[in-house]
């Protein structure tokens, strides 16, 4: 008898505990976030603090995996195994080239309408439109909400330029004058390494943005007839690139044909080159090597007379959140996105990571002040590589980059560049059976 009652009591207690725990689980909502940052990085620290605050304020749980830069690759098998991942983050190009092209990203337009907690504004109100404008599709859909804002510019040391009496150039002619002064002082005008894709792609697409305007490169890449490259303005793009080469006006640093990351940026901060074209992350990466007397300045890619591109335009390179289409906890994930765009986190982002925030009204770090000014003065923006890296990745890898090498090495001139862009594009699309 005693044993029976004991057993009954145990069962009752177990059922009670089970019910209690399930109620607790139901009460505590959660979402899963796979991040591009790694444990210990400054960006991770700011996000981790915000997650902690979010969990406390709303009594929820955020299951974070600090997966690192290859997060999109890491997510692929998870999707196939049916595991629920609610949100991730990466650069706009990698998100659009991977998750959006793969059809697994959810639109984020509704987040723009959400209120930013503890503030009397919506996400759309606090974000600078230039930080995501270029990523709005023709049908109006947006798949990224940025929290970090990058743009690429020419960097220089203000102290050095002052010493040499150089003004930051605006036009191509001024850029060439600057290069001559630097050369006269035994300084290579531009630090560069052709073996690193990031560096190699910058000038060809920026020249195209200036001469032909936004989306010209992207449209030409998508044209299987290659006719777009018959436009004589492509020859002009090729001429500009050829001028950079050692066979042209020899603007790139000595040994650029075999220099790889991080050599060019180190050569630049060590004074072997006068300028370096790169994203706004560069002061963080080079601060220590640059030393105290190095003052970061920035100017945009030069402008050209009689060109059709917007001379004020700058590149938009956002890093942001993307919620996944089949996310079970999409609402909670989006709530966090809005939460993280509070002013206090944007300020922390700037202070701790030394990066720019896409939030309006928050100052950029001192090193990025010039770059921020260029952005503020821009009438329009364009995507990194005009979007071809994400929209036509194979064309980018097998036509755009190899021809960029050829012209920047001076192996072909402007006319040949335009012609090869045309013929290689035709060949590329003919070979595409898929």
């Amino acid at each position: 008898m005693f044993k029976k009652s004991n057993l009954l009591l145990s069962i009752t207690l177990m059922v009670g505990l089970l019910l209690l725990s399930s109620t607790m689980v139901m009460a505590n909502e959660s979402f899963t976030y796979w991040s591009m940052w790694e444990k210990g990085e400054p960006q991770q620290k700011v996000l981790e603090q915000a997650i902690k605050d979010f969990e406390e304020q709303f009594d929820v749980t955020v299951n974070v995996n600090w997966a690192g830069r290859d997060v999109v690759t890491a997510l692929k098998p998870r999707f196939l195994s049916g595991e629920n991942i609610d949100m991730t983050d990466q650069s706009g190009e990698e998100l659009y080239g991977g998750l959006v092209a793969g059809g697994v990203a959810a639109t984020m337009n509704d987040v723009l309408e959400m209120s930013v907690p503890n503030e009397d504004a919506t996400v759309g109100d606090v974000l600078i439109p230039e930080s995501y404008d270029a990523y709005v599709r023709e049908d109006g859909s947006l798949y990224i909400i940025p929290y970090n804002f990058i743009t690429s510019v020419f960097w220089y040391d203000k102290v050095l330029f002052n010493d040499l009496g150089i003004e930051a150039p605006e036009t191509w002619d001024e850029f060439l004058e600057m290069s001559e002064i630097l050369k006269d002082n035994n300084i290579d005008p531009v630090a560069f390494g052709i073996q690193t894709d990031v560096y190699r792609g910058y000038f060809p697409y920026h020249a195209a943005e200036r001469i032909l305007g936004k989306n010209a490169l992207n449209n030409a890449a998508s044209d299987p007839t290659g006719e777009a490259f018959e436009d004589p303005r492509w020859e002009r793009v090729g001429d500009i690139l050829y001028q950079f080469s050692k066979e042209g006006k020899d603007l790139l640093m000595q040994g650029y044909e075999s220099s790889v990351y991080p050599a060019p940026q180190m050569d630049w901060v060590m004074g072997m080159a006068g300028t370096f074209y790169c994203g706004t992350w560069i002061p963080v990466e080079t601060r220590e090597a640059a030393g105290e007397n190095f003052e970061y300045g920035a100017f945009k890619f030069p402008t050209f007379e009689d060109a059709d591109g917007d001379p004020t335009a700058v590149e938009t390179y956002p890093i942001g959140f993307s919620v996944l289409k089949d996310a079970e906890n999409a609402d909670l994930a989006k709530k966090f996105v809005a939460f993280f765009l509070q002013e206090k986190y944007a300020k922390q982002w700037v202070e701790v990571t030394k990066n720019m925030t896409p939030r309006a009204g928050v100052e950029a770090p001192a090193e990025l002040a010039d770059a921020k000014k260029l952005l503020d003065n821009a009438n329009s923006t364009f995507r990194l590589y005009d979007g071809v890296q994400a929209d036509q990745p194979e064309w980018y890898a097998s036509v755009f980059l190899p021809l960029a090498s050829e012209v920047l090495l001076g192996e072909i001139n402007g006319e040949e560049y335009a012609e090869k862009m045309r013929t290689e594009t035709i060949k590329f699309w003919e070979n595409k059976n898929n």
Partner: protein, 320 residues
């Protein structure tokens, strides 16, 4: 009761039918786990890869479109893929020549050491690169070969050999730079194999040769090398497989660890198929197309291994 005899290989003779049946049963039962393992982890994935290669598929979702052999058609005209196939063959050909020559030379030197401790120490030092992370080694090699402040050009400058300084990571030399990295890493592994093979050769053969007045080099070329033929064959087969499947070193080398995918000039098929399947910096994400590359890789390795074995086995086998 089993009686073993040696006649051109190992065979077994039985003295009654019951033993033979029991033996067959034993063989059958003991091979089941191995065969199952092989089928589950080798055959099934290969068949699955073959199946996926017939589709258009990014790998992000289960949406797949059957396109029969169009991926294979595309491979035949894909200049980047063909370049990586060519690179893989170059790694096999040049790599095997360089590795065999270096390994044989080291084997000659090491087998002539009188001190076993010294022998072990040298082998250990040469094997060290095998124990270090591929990423670290590839980055280190990149720094050593850096044009402006790399160790190699610096050393050449200090020695007054400035005329030999090159842009080692430029298009012209980067393949050789990658090959030298692979040779440096793997040569220690093959030296251990060769030295172990040389050590098993009966000393009596060398003693007879010495009595006949043969030099150590003559002994090495006339006794050691011919008797190591099976090991040299195995090393060539292993190197062929390595050349096609080596990943980490080539994935990182030349890319500088960031900002870039591995340059096409150094990619073998494995690296290229990974970048095609999963993207990295460039989000290509064509998992099915990459599967067709994997099938081609499998066929190429099988053919090459067969050819190498045929070429080497065509000679006489020396037993001792």
């Amino acid at each position: 009761m089993f009686i073993k005899t040696k006649k051109g290989g190992q065979s077994v003779r039985y003295n009654n039918k019951i033993d033979r049946k029991r033996y067959k049963k034993f063989i059958l039962v003991s091979t089941i786990p191995v065969v199952s393992f092989y089928v589950i982890f080798m055959i099934y994935p290969i068949l699955q890869t073959l199946y996926y290669s017939l589709f258009r598929w990014s790998g992000f979702s289960r949406d797949m479109e059957f396109i029969l052999l169009r991926n294979y058609n595309e491979l035949m005209t894909d200049s980047m893929f063909l370049q990586t196939v060519w690179n893989s063959f170059k790694y096999v050909f040049f790599g095997s020549i360089i590795i065999i020559v270096i390994t044989l030379l080291f084997t000659y030197v090491i087998t002539n050491y009188k001190s076993k401790k010294l022998k072990d120490l040298v082998q250990m030092i040469l094997f060290v690169p095998n124990t270090i992370s591929p990423v670290a080694l590839a980055l280190l090699w990149g720094f050593i070969l850096n044009t402006r402040w790399g160790l190699l050009n610096g050393l050449l400058g200090k020695l007054g050999l400035d005329f030999l300084q090159r842009g080692w990571l430029g298009d012209q030399y980067i393949f050789g730079a990658a090959l030298s990295l692979l040779v440096w890493i793997h040569v220690g592994f093959f030296i251990i194999m060769y030295v172990a093979a040389a050590d098993r050769i009966p000393p009596s053969l060398y003693e007879s040769a010495q009595l006949d007045g043969a030099t150590t080099w003559k002994q090495f070329t006339k006794i050691t090398v011919p008797l190591m033929k099976d090991v040299i064959e195995t090393s060539m087969v292993l190197w062929t497989i390595f050349s096609f499947k080596i990943f980490g070193y080539l994935y990182v080398f030349g890319a500088g660890g960031a900002g870039s995918d591995a340059p096409v000039a150094v990619r073998n098929i494995s690296v290229h198929l990974f970048l095609t399947a999963f993207g990295k910096r460039t989000p290509i994400n064509r998992l099915a197309y990459a599967s067709s590359m994997a099938i081609v890789l499998l066929i190429l390795v099988a053919i090459l291994v067969y050819v190498i074995r045929k070429l080497i086995m065509s000679g006489e086998t020396i037993e001792y």
